[in-house]
């Protein structure tokens, strides 16, 4: 079993108001675009659903307690355009994932990028809006 580690990195980015670049069915203002969270853990479930997918990741804290974080991304077709398949994140897959955290402190964030630790492959859901 890979050792999971918690490395939360809150970065103060620009002080100006910047919209979270998610073209969602809802406003993205509940996520804080001025901060970024980076977590390492194992995939609990990849909820490959419309209008948004959620990648649930179990993250073990320094005290050994496991918290399930949810990372929101676009729906299956946009993920597909980014080359992200449901099978890429089977339960138990170790990953490091980055995103903009929820403002109210709940363990949720937008999914900006993720690295699958077994092969170091990177997955960027936002690339799904590229026209090609």
């Amino acid at each position: 079993m890979n050792k999971t580690r918690l490395s939360v990195c809150m970065m103060a980015l620009a002080a100006c108001v910047v919209a979270v670049p998610v073209m969602a069915h809802h406003s993205g203002a509940m996520f804080d675009a001025t901060r970024e969270v980076t977590l390492t853990g194992t995939v609990k479930e990849f909820q490959y659903t419309n209008p948004h997918s959620w990648l649930l990741v179990d993250v073990k804290g320094a005290d050994g307690k496991v918290t399930t974080w949810g990372f929101e991304a676009e729906g299956p077709s946009t993920l597909g355009r980014a080359g992200i398949r449901r099978s890429d994140f089977a339960p138990g897959t170790p990953i490091t994932i980055k995103g903009n955290p929820h403002r109210d402190g709940r363990p949720a964030a937008t999914w900006a990028s993720a690295t699958r630790l077994s092969d170091k492959k990177e997955f960027n859901p936002r690339a799904g809006f590229a026209v090609r």
Binding site: C16, V17, A19, M23, H25, H26, S27, A29, M30, K44, E45, Q47, Y48, T49, N50, P51, H52, W54, L56, T68, W69, G70, E72, G75, P76, S77, T78, G80, R81, H102, D104, R106, P107, A108, F129, V131, R132
Partner: protein, 334 residues
């Protein structure tokens, strides 16, 4: 003798009618804009197309003018469906992306104090000529965003975006052309616009009712689909600082395939409540590469996953309902 005189009169009447129809057709044809692709002179061309729309008080007049110019249009046949102009197959998405109704504004970063400028009426994120009522709504949106940093988008509960907002949505689209109807399908919330091209007119006003996509009729002329939409519901062109449109909104669209991968539409929106003049924009969609055929339009419903449910807050912003990261989503076939 009397019979001959009668016949002569009838021939004369018919000649006058034919001449009038012909003249109307000729006049309508002679003043059509030069439908060109975007190029170096696009700002000037765009201005011409804007001015063209402004010549007509209503979208009905513009549509009738285009229909006259096309001699009423030409009915399509099934044998034509394989021709490139009518083969709109494939999976498309909005060219250039962005959530601005006017694609020419996509990707332009707003100035630092932009919200304040818009709130005070000194700037706008739209190319529309707004009435005082339309401007007031945009200013109120700017104030809301400046004060709270957020907003509530009505489509958060998976209701349809509605026309004309439909044109801006950045997800997958598919199009099906048939001789009597064309279907414009948006992946988002399983949304289909039906364009009736079988010669029918709009539903009579006394029987009509507003709906998200309204009532659309159209005709074909030389590979171009000209459409007219009315009986719409009120809405907003997009979230953020895009204006609102009213139930009195009507739309003329001129769709055609400009190359193997690009569908393009010239769009004039008329809305006496929010617009001082019709708002002309050019919309465009690009056919995506889909060699492995993995891109497919799927059913889309907010209830697939409870973690996607959104509430409107008292301050006018939006928030997720409580998350449940323990229970598997219902959208996984479990």
């Amino acid at each position: 003798m009397a019979m001959l005189r009668k016949r002569t009169i009838w021939v004369g009447v018919l000649a006058v009618v034919a001449a009038a129809v012909g003249l109307r057709f000729t006049l309508a044809q002679s003043d059509l804009p030069d439908w060109v692709a975007k190029g170096d002179d696009w700002p000037a061309r765009k201005q011409q197309l804007q001015a063209y729309g402004e010549r007509f008080k209503t979208s009905d007049e513009l549509y009738q003018h285009l229909r006259d110019a096309a001699g009423g249009g030409q009915p399509l046949t099934w044998s034509q469906m394989g021709e490139p102009a009518y083969d709109w197959s494939g999976v498309y998405t909005r060219t250039g992306g962005g959530l601005e109704f006017d694609l020419d504004l996509a990707g332009r970063p707003p100035a630092k104090d932009f919200l304040t400028q818009v709130a005070s009426g000194k700037a706008s994120l739209a190319t529309a000529q707004l009435t005082p009522a339309g401007q007031k709504i945009v200013q109120a949106k700017a104030k809301q965003l400046a004060a709270t940093g957020g907003e509530y988008d009505p489509i958060s509960d998976c209701r349809p975006p509605g026309v004309p907002r439909w044109l801006t949505e950045p997800f997958l689209k598919e199009y099906v052309v048939t001789p009597n109807q064309t279907w414009l399908m948006n992946e988002m919330v399983n949304d289909v616009r039906r364009v009736y091209t079988d010669g029918r007119e709009h539903t009579p006003v006394e029987d009509a009712y507003p709906s998200w996509n309204g009532d659309t009729i159209g005709f074909w002329h030389e590979g171009v689909l000209v459409m007219h939409t009315r009986y719409l519901m009120q809405g907003q062109y997009q979230r953020g600082l895009q204006p609102d449109y009213s139930e009195q909104t009507t739309v003329v669209e001129r769709w055609h395939k400009v190359d193997e991968r690009t569908l393009q539409a010239d769009v004039w929106v008329y809305d006496p409540v929010n617009l001082k003049a019709p708002w002309y924009t050019r919309q465009s969609w690009t056919r995506l590469t889909n060699d492995d055929k993995s891109l497919r339009l799927r059913y889309w419903d907010c209830r697939e996953n409870a973690n996607n449910l959104i509430d409107k807050k008292d301050d006018g912003t939006s928030e997720f309902k409580p998350f449940d990261f323990e229970k598997p989503s219902t959208g996984q076939g479990k």
